[in-house]
């Protein structure tokens, strides 16, 4: 398959060139956050507090890695199911978040937010936690350390293999792909 190489922070011109079904290799910094961290993000915003990271033009990876062995950067780090973050994602997109990485279908509200705020949703292969760990070159907990696997981590990735699922043109790989092979 043809592979498109992209880097963070995500510029609009790059997002405009991404179409559902494409395979991409992502390099740069991304941030992990899943259920508990998202809840804290939104609670902080409700209280008028600042988020523990500047999400403008950044990508959040829905991931809770397994513990790193001594001498290793990270443990297995595949995606978790994204739909549990659907309640929070549109708000973050409105604040400038440009990319989300996870697995599984998104709600209509998230798909609308992707179009409205020019964002993108990537799928990482669920259950390929060992493979995905090989693209992580550094990992640092930057917030909510007490949440263990759910803490917010800044990962540096090199050529992380992803597929574009929802693009700004309203395409959805889950729908078109399934429709195409349905008998």
């Amino acid at each position: 398959m043809e592979i498109k190489r992209i880097t963070t922070p995500l510029e609009d011109s790059v997002i405009e060139g991404l179409k559902a079904g494409q395979k991409v290799f992502l390099s740069g910094f991304i941030y992990t956050a899943r259920d508990a961290a998202h809840k804290r993000f939104i609670d902080a915003l409700e209280k008028g507090e600042k988020l523990p990271l500047d999400i403008k033009r950044q990508i959040i990876y829905y991931c809770g890695p397994s513990p790193a062995r001594p001498g290793r950067v990270i443990g297995a780090c595949g995606p978790t199911t994204s739909s549990r973050m659907d309640a929070y994602a549109p708000r973050l997109a409105s604040l400038g978040l440009k990319g989300m990485i996870g697995k599984g279908k998104r709600s209509q509200a998230v798909k609308d937010a992707i179009k409205e705020h020019k964002a993108i949703y990537f799928g990482a292969t669920g259950g390929a936690g060992a493979l995905l760990s090989k693209s992580v070159t550094s990992c640092e907990v930057i917030a909510y350390e007490e949440l263990g696997p759910e803490a917010v981590r800044r990962l540096e990735v090199k050529d992380m293999p992803l597929f574009v699922i929802n693009d700004i043109y309203g395409n959805d790989l889950y729908e078109t792909g399934t429709q195409h092979y349905k008998k």
Binding site: S66, P67, A76, K103, G104, K105, T125, G129, T178, Y181
Partner: protein, 279 residues
């Protein structure tokens, strides 16, 4: 009476959960290799290739196959001529899980249902015991991730719904899950018994090796019929579209009440981690 010391159980459980999470069994590995041949979607093929590379990397570099190293589902068949000595069996299983998840660098994914506070050591395990004849103890470790487990359900069907009812129930669960339970999936179907045994049967069905058919020819044919229907949905590997949505379907069945048709579906992801030992 044969005596088995709990220390032996602790150590077996510790090793099984580590082994299961790092070393995909040959049976599942072969099924992935068959799936990559069978899949016609280029994206689908690419995904399965990633899964094969992933399984090799996990084994060679000691990285868990998936970061969701699961709740520690443990099945034990205990021979009635065995006397467990040295302490409580339930405590021994929990201790084995505690040690395995710590020394194996496995993720602790067990928490309080409401406060969501992590128990910290992946205990308590989910332990199922059965008393059987003989003087051996068989232990099966089936670490089970949340993504696939979330698409399980028990339904008390009406007897008149019969096989068609079961088939549409399974297809309903598979399409509802779509990409979320990490296809290509394995589907366990429990039929009969009562409310709780149907659920247990569906999980036991997941323990049948991939490619193995039910002893009952009619049920074996029904398994293949459901598998074929699932693979016509188009969901494909990771839900990106394709012809291999499921790698296998297994049915476990037992008689039920004259008024009932209990059925359960338990979905397993492609990272089907299972290891067993007989002591």
């Amino acid at each position: 009476m044969r005596e088995i010391h709990i220390n032996e159980i602790v150590s077996a459980i510790e090793k099984l959960f580590i082994d299961a999470n790092y070393n995909l069994s040959d049976n599942v590995f072969d099924a992935l290799n068959k799936a990559v041949e069978k899949e016609i979607s280029p994206v689908g093929k690419e995904v399965i290739k990633e899964l094969i590379i992933n399984a090799n990397l996990a084994r060679e570099e000691h990285i868990p196959i998936c970061q969701d190293t699961g709740l520690a589902v443990t099945f034990m068949e205990i021979g009635q001529d065995v006397h467990i000595v040295g302490g409580s069996l339930a405590d021994a299983v929990a201790e084995g899980v505690r040690r395995g998840y710590k020394s194996g660098y496995l993720r602790k994914s067990c928490c309080d249902p409401f406060t969501r506070k992590n128990t910290g050591d992946n205990t308590p395990p989910i332990l199922h015991t059965k008393i059987v004849s003989g003087d051996k103890v068989k232990i099966v470790a089936l670490p089970k991730g949340g993504g696939s487990e979330n698409y399980g359900e028990v339904r008390m069907l009406v007897p008149s719904q019969g096989k068609d009812g079961i088939k549409s129930f399974v297809l309903d669960m598979v399409t509802k899950g779509g990409p979320n339970p990490c296809p290509p999936i394995i589907v366990g179907v429990g039929i009969g018994g009562n409310f709780e045994t149907s659920a247990l049967l569906s999980k036991e069905a997941l323990m049948v090796p991939l490619g193995e058919r039910s002893n009952d020819p009619a049920i074996a044919a029904f398994e293949l019929e459901i598998l074929d229907e699932i693979n016509k949905t188009g969901i494909g590997p990771q839900g990106y579209g394709g012809t291999v949505t499921a790698m296998d379907v297994h049915i476990k069945m037992m008689p039920c009440h004259i008024a009932s048709l209990p059925a359960a579906v338990n979905i397993q992801c492609h990272a089907h981690r299972i290891k067993e030992i007989t002591i």
